[in-house]
Amino acid sequence: MGIPEEQIQLTPAEAQILRTLLDKEKLTLSQLAKELGMDTGAITSNCERLARKGLIKIDRHEESYFALTEVGREYVNIGAPEDRLVDYLENHEEVMLDELAEKIGLSRQEFSGAFGLLMKLGALFVKKTESGKAVSLKTKPEILTTEVLKKIHSNKDLSETEKSLLKILVKRGLVGKESKTTLTYQLIPGTQKEIRHLLDVWEKSEREITNLTPDLLTTGKWRNVRLKKYDMSIPPPYPTRWGMRHGYYAFLDYVRQKFMALGFTEMEGSIIVPEFWNMDALYMPQFHPARAIHDAYYVDLPADDSLEERFINAVAKVHETGKGANSRGWQYHFDKEVTRRMVLRSQGTALSAWTLAHNPDIPGRYFGIAKCFRYDKIDATHLPDFYQVEGIVLDKNNNFGTLLSLLKLFAREFAGTEKIKLVPAYFPFTEPSVELHAEIPGVGWVELGGAGIFRPEVTKPFGIDVPVLAWGLGLDRIGMLAFGIKDIRHLLSRDLEELRDLNRRVTSAKIRGKLR
């Protein structure tokens, strides 16, 4: 028969029993108890369990036997009446029958029983005298009752003659007939080999401990135990409380750090802005194609009455006539109501416009990581909101050459290349305008962003007299180059399981120092 090993769990006591039975083949309960130094209760329950597991066989043997009654047990201690009588007569010549019971300390009933028995055995001699009958010992009986009782009491074998006495002892109420069950334990024949293997396996595992406990340490018991070997190749359980940064936020952190290191100050602003900052301040005429109702999200908020009149007037003038910026302007009627309408910021440049109007440092470098909203169908590549990173550099020495230098700096820092190409571009708020392309080893030419010098129509209304370099970089490209992720928007996964992996990839890139 086979023992399904992996299903068998053993307690240390069970293993000890099995080990003993393997050595001794067959043992009764009491033998086993003696062998193991355990109490029989523990043995029986453990053996019952072992039997249920199919590891041992229990034999029950029913047998009857003689046992002492209470009186019998008393006689073991003080001697049976007939033996005490014999004992007494051995030490005295002749004793008067009348006095004998009292002298030995027997009751009348005990005495008459003992006397009758001895007379029957022919052990006494009775002589008639003047003062009554005198008793003396003729021969000492061959079998002493007390000895027989003692043998029964201690479970010793009786001789044939002694056995013949039993009937009388039962009759006298000194011995009773009882029955008992003997439990014998043994391994199931033929399983020795398997049990030995089972025990070997068990030895190796269960007797070692899995965890070190405070108790083991305080008691010093750790010295006596062996810590179980741990299979280090098994995948460990997933940590349930693993906090981590979101990959995309970690990416934005990286971008922020980068710009700070390059001497840029972060701009901030609300996602809900009047059209003024989003468009008008950037010299985008109110009839501009990108300002149609279907290009920005309009919100149901009242017009922004906190917008300063002086700003609106200066911007309106430059749109209408170009006055104040030495320009021809857009030659149309500027609507001062439209400019106060609230929209969701559609371009990060809104932050730069606001900064220009609020006493920027000169020289100064600013950047913004701006959440923007474009009115677009939402699908895998068009998310309802997205981030843009852009900024400005204010300096009296700014010109096309410094712009080139700035863009080269960005290419080096974010793309690890100095090979850049500027391509003519168009933005309503910069002139000249450029597109920045960089040659990445192994990738080729990629577009990194756009830049230019703010038009005077953008800077002059806010009293800025120095040339302002304006730039915007493609976060997708930066992410691709910095993290080796094809499309940084993959980081925006909403699947928590997938996110855990993606987040770790970003952290991993940071840890490995792979970020430029």
């Binding site: 906090g243 940064r245 972060e266 009839f287 919100v299 149901d300 030659q331 230098s405 168009y426 129509e457």
Partner: protein
């Protein structure tokens, strides 16, 4: 940005200096044009024109002109040619009636002797007309254009507003006659553009001398008088719109293109009954006589280059201008098919492009500045660190949401910032709290191992009950969800967070339908509520399809930040 489809053979014919598409591609950036594909079989070249203020480039002849001019420095001086034109037939005029002055006052037109040689050219002519009206003209609302076979028209033409049912004609692509009103209701183009005119007192039309309709402006031409085809040789080009400058520009661009292709332009007069135009009579093509005056410094100082006057003149010529120097001043004549020169910087950019962006030298950035994050960022980042240390996973959600998520599922009703021009109902409001967007993440992740401990700091918009104004705030949302989640351990996290800020706060029991009654508290600092925490109401969980207990809350980081700075 307009995308153009042109026949490469026709394009290359206009640029004799180059022989192939391969030679053309490196020159496209001169015109801020981007290669967008080439079909060798059909010879169709796709390009994207990036400058929305240069509609003169949105055609094969226009693009060819810029590239040829860059290579040769030679441009035809259309302004000189057009100035010399005289009207031969006194009937060649359009009368813009006074009733047009309110809604769409301006009209421009010219005649062209040009035989349309092929279907391809015809398609390209229509394409240019549509790009100008669609992109530059804001989907016809500012400018629309029409092309006609001039031989069918009896001059003079009248541009006027008429009652919607007074005139009937067969529109293009239709066979039956419709009233103007019916065109707006039945013709697909009518339906598409009717919003421009339907609220006006009358509808603008162009009528010939026999009172036959040429066009319902800016909707559709007549199938009889407003239809052109291959072989037509006398054309009328017309534009109407809201900007005098731009309707004239549109016609000028077309006139220049046709002349580039070998046609000949004949002038037309516009007679304005109203006073919106600079003069009562205007001749087209319209010569703007735009001469930009600039000192040398204005033209090159931003370039960081030292250029001789001769070089500057040459570079300007390459880009299509007609410059002269008088008394140390540059007088730059701007051709009348361009209106994008508003400031000297516009010329400066063209000088830079002609000089070549590749030829510039770097000028080092020398000024010293100190970089720093926006002030609240330190608070945001410290809180993020704390949350991550407490075992929370940062998530990324959208700012836009919807009322069902933000209000109904959360069991609340309050004023919320709505999008007026909704694109998708799913994204129709600005979120009022971080909790609904975090719950949305949870509802999408019921299959992911629990417990989930998620958070995000993001922007929300809330109405301030005091002044009825909306404010945007940076806000921290926290959700702790899983089989063994209890309010107690979540409160422990909140305690860890708030106590670390060092600010003194109170937790005041409150009732909020999002949370279980008796298991919710406001976080109050100096009598200002900066957040709410509690155990989420089972109905909220049910609304989001969640079957795990959840606790959490929201802390207004902007408010916390302001209080900590105070």
């Amino acid at each position: 940005m307009p995308k153009l489809e042109v026949n490469s053979d026709n394009l290359l014919k206009l640029i004799p200096q180059i022989k192939s598409i391969d030679e053309l591609l490196p020159l496209l950036p001169i015109a801020k044009a981007e290669f967008d594909g080439f079909d060798e079989e059909t010879g169709t070249l796709n390009v994207e024109l990036n400058d929305t203020n240069r509609p003169d480039l949105w055609s094969a002849p226009g693009l060819a002109r810029a590239i040829r001019g860059y290579l040769t420095s030679q441009y035809r001086d259309f302004d000189a040619e057009w100035s010399a034109l005289e009207i031969e037939d006194t009937n060649h005029f359009i009368l813009a009636k006074s009733n047009t002055q309110q809604n769409r006052p301006f009209v421009a037109a010219c005649l062209a002797e040009y035989k349309i040689p092929s279907e391809e050219i015809l398609v390209e002519l229509i394409q240019t007309q549509e790009k100008i009206a669609g992109v530059f003209g804001n989907k016809r609302s500012r400018i629309s254009m029409g092309l006609y076979n001039a031989d069918l028209i009896q001059f003079p033409i009248s541009y006027e507003m008429v009652p919607p049912d007074s005139i009937r004609f067969v529109p293009l692509q239709f066979e039956k006659e419709l009233s103007l009103r019916e065109i707006l209701n039945e013709h697909p183009t009518g339906i598409e553009y009717r919003h421009i005119i339907q609220d006006w007192d009358g509808y603008p039309v162009l009528l010939d001398a026999a009172r036959r309709a040429l066009s319902l402006v800016p909707i559709i031409n007549s199938n009889d008088l407003g239809h052109i085809g291959v072989g037509d040789k006398n054309l009328l080009i017309e534009a109407t719109g809201t900007s005098f400058e731009h309707v004239n520009l549109a016609v000028n661009i077309f006139a220049a293109d046709i002349e580039e292709m070998g046609g000949k332009i004949y002038p037309i007069k516009i007679k304005y009954e109203h006073k919106r135009a600079p003069s009562q009579e205007v001749q087209l093509p319209y010569v703007f006589n735009h001469i930009h005056k600039a000192r040398k410094k204005e033209l090159i100082s931003l370039l960081g280059l030292n250029l001789s006057n001769e070089t500057i003149l040459e570079l300007l010529r390459k880009m299509g201008f007609f410059p002269q120097i008088k008394n140390k001043q540059f007088f730059v004549k701007i051709p009348s098919y361009r209106r994008d020169i508003m400031h000297s910087v516009d010329l400066l950019e063209d000088i830079a492009i002609a000089y070549g962006y590749d030829n510039f030298q770097e000028v080092p950035l020398e000024s010293y500045t100190i970089g720093q994050a926006k002030p609240i960022q330190h608070t945001i980042d410290s809180i993020r660190d704390l949350m991550i240390g407490l075992g929370y996973v940062e998530v990324f959600t959208y700012v836009l949401s919807n009322e069902d998520d933000c209000l109904k599922k959360m069991r609340i009703s309050e004023k919320i910032v709505r999008i007026k021009n909704v694109m998708s109902q799913t994204f129709s409001v600005v979120r009022n709290s971080m909790l609904p967007v975090l719950f949305r993440i949870e509802s999408e992740n019921t299959g992911s191992r629990y417990p989930h401990r998620i958070f995000e700091i993001g922007e929300i918009a809330r109405y301030n009950p005091q002044n009825e104004k909306a404010e945007t705030l940076q806000s921290l949302g926290i959700i702790n969800i899983g089989p063994n989640v209890t309010l107690a351990n979540t409160l422990g996290d909140i305690w860890a967070l708030l106590s670390t800020t060092g600010i003194e706060y109170e937790m005041v029991e409150t009732n909020d339908p999002r949370f279980i009654e008796g298991r919710c508290a406001k976080v109050i600092v100096d009598n200002i509520t900066i957040g709410i925490v509690g155990e989420f109401h089972p109905e909220v969980l049910e609304n989001w399809g969640l079957t795990m207990p959840a606790a959490g809350g929201e802390i207004f980081v902007s408010k916390l930040y302001e209080l900590m700075r105070a």
